[in-house]
């Protein structure tokens, strides 16, 4: 029996099997169940998806989520590009230190970081007190319980994720092309905008999609820094499940999120080998 099996199935698959079984049974199973729930709970039909157009609350939450994700992505990728560019062009020792700072911030717990922002941005937080002390502002600025606070916290979290794919991309570029451009008389700016920027496009696209995907399902920072005033999809799902027990609505939103993420992953795989994005570069 085992010999017959060996003839047709490569022995490698036996090593893959335990984890594959675990994922299929305990992960894929309930996810398919959620997709199923979205069209059957509380009764069969598309009424959960109808809420997208009929319910103002849900439409507003989705709009808030998309808006915050787009702004977060734009800022994270822009700031990340500066960092990645400077890192690639720095001397090796400096580069090492920069990478260390980047990775340390990458690994600091999300809860610790959110807590710190809570301390910094509050009404009597360090930022407001500092600004008042030096006389820049008379009244404390409201950083929290609004989108500004959520954006600060999210961009701060996402920048390292934006840097890593762009860094990988920039490290593989052929720098002779830039020298050639300069030798042929192009200015530094021309070389950057006409040669360098187009060459780094795959990295930029991969970073944007990655940050957007991660932002979509973000829970901790919006829940704490938004203080209930900025409701995003992830928090709304948790309220539906744990407080109002509406599995149908939650399942519909989860399905939307899932399809959105899968579509973007597919797009991303067109631009970059996915394995290089997920930490191949961190080691």
């Amino acid at each position: 029996m085992t010999n017959v099996l060996r003839k047709y199935v490569s022995p490698g698959w036996l090593l893959v099997a335990p984890f594959l079984a675990l994922v299929v049974l305990l992960y894929l199973g309930p996810i398919l169940n959620i997709l199923w729930l979205s069209v059957t709970e509380p009764q069969p039909g598309l009424q959960n998806f109808e809420k997208l157009v009929t319910s103002d609350t849900i439409a507003r939450i989705i709009w808030t989520t998309v808006r915050i994700c787009v702004v977060t992505t734009a800022f994270s990728v822009m700031l990340g590009y500066c960092i990645a560019y400077a890192m690639v062009h720095a001397h090796q020792k400096q580069q090492h230190l920069m990478l260390t700072l980047l990775l340390v911030s990458f690994w600091i717990s999300i809860l610790v970081r959110t807590f710190s922002w809570l301390m910094l941005l509050g009404r009597n937080g360090l930022v407001n007190n500092g600004l008042e002390a030096i006389g820049v502002i008379a009244e404390p600025i409201a950083f929290m319980r609004n989108e500004l606070g959520v954006l600060i916290g999210m961009v701060h979290y996402m920048v390292p994720y934006a840097v890593l794919p762009m860094l990988v991309n920039m490290q593989t570029l052929d720098t002779r092309v830039m020298s050639a451009s300069r030798n042929l008389g192009a200015s530094g700016q021309q070389t950057f905008f006409r040669i360098y920027l187009p060459m780094t496009k795959p990295g930029v696209v991969a970073a944007s999609l990655l940050v957007f995907i991660l932002s979509l399902g973000f829970y901790v920072t919006p829940a704490v820094l938004g203080g209930g005033k900025v409701l995003m999809v992830a928090e709304y799902i948790s309220v539906q499940l744990l407080v109002t027990l509406k599995w149908g609505t939650a399942a519909m939103l989860a399905s939307l999120m899932l399809f959105g993420v899968l579509a973007m992953l597919y797009l991303m795989s067109k631009f970059m080998k996915l394995s290089t994005v997920f930490g191949g570069s961190t080691s």
Binding site: L14, N33, I34, H89, V104, W107, L111, L241, V261
Partner: protein
């Protein structure tokens, strides 16, 4: 090419940004030293009372212990499963292997809130809610893709001829695995174990859904502390977490340096 003004500006900007990434977290340090009973910046006076509270409170200590148990078990399970899986996928030469690899990485990229919902949904009928096995299983599924990535990266540098040589010299498949393959991918395995540990140690979204009273991990207690926003003990816990992160980071840096040395010695 001499650096232009813009390039210089960008370099300074990048350093400022990097400091912006790291420094805000450090605000937990002064807050944890406040002598007051509520969250505040210390003014002139410092006190270690909140650290004392952290290390004498049975709740916080039990959370530390529970998180350690869960993270260590997760790390052990994920390392075994992920390493086997990476070696398996590396061995098979099939057009499906890349597809299976992509599928197995999904738990890492699917939004955690969706994963949380999935586990919550299945753990109810299985009776795994609010139990160690429930949390460890869920965290293992989320963390194994990390190990898969790091071990696969190590395997990409491993010369398959070494395996053939070992087999040709008469070693069995399991002996080859033990004496040839595993030693040469050890850095990847260790890095994966570390990443899996951190992921579980730090996991909050799934944990919020599938734990309640019996199991109360450190992130869960911190989450509560942050929501209540009064007790400075949470700042002391944050400082301890920062210290642990930096120690773990130093460990992984040493590992990857050692890996680089091993690779160099193989090349030369």
């Amino acid at each position: 090419m001499k650096p232009s003004f813009l390039a210089l500006f960008n370099r300074v900007g990048a350093w400022v940004l990097l400091l912006f990434l790291v420094l805000p977290a450090l605000v937990a340090i002064p807050v944890s030293l406040t002598p007051k009973r509520f969250l505040s910046m210390p003014k002139g006076e410092f006190s270690l009372r909140h650290f004392e509270n952290l290390f004498t409170s049975p709740e916080w200590l039990s959370s530390f212990g529970q998180s350690a148990i869960i993270a260590l078990s997760t790390s052990a399970l994920a390392t075994v499963l992920g390493t086997l899986c990476a070696i398996g996928l590396w061995r098979v030469t099939s057009k499906y292997s890349e597809l299976v690899r992509a599928f197995l990485l999904l738990p890492l990229i699917i939004p955690q809130i969706v994963s949380a919902m999935a586990f919550y949904r299945l753990w109810i009928p299985l009776g795994l809610l609010d139990s160690y096995p429930g949390l460890i299983l869920a965290h293992t599924i989320l963390a194994t893709p990390m190990v898969l990535i790091t071990v696969s990266a190590s395997l990409a540098n491993f010369d398959p001829k070494l395996e053939q040589a070992s087999r040709n010299l008469g070693a069995s498949s399991s002996t080859t695995m033990r004496l040839v393959i595993l030693p040469s991918i050890r850095p990847g395995v260790f890095a994966g174990a570390l990443f899996a540990f951190i992921l579980s140690w730090d996991e909050i979204v799934v944990t919020l859904f599938i734990s309640k009273f019996n199991v109360y991990t450190l992130p869960r207690r911190m989450w509560n502390g942050i929501r209540e926003n009064t007790d400075p003990t949470v700042a002391a816990a944050a400082v301890i977490l920062i210290v642990i992160t930096i120690v773990a980071f130093a460990a992984s840096a040493i590992l990857s340096r050692r890996r680089a040395q091993i690779e160099n010695s193989i090349d030369t």
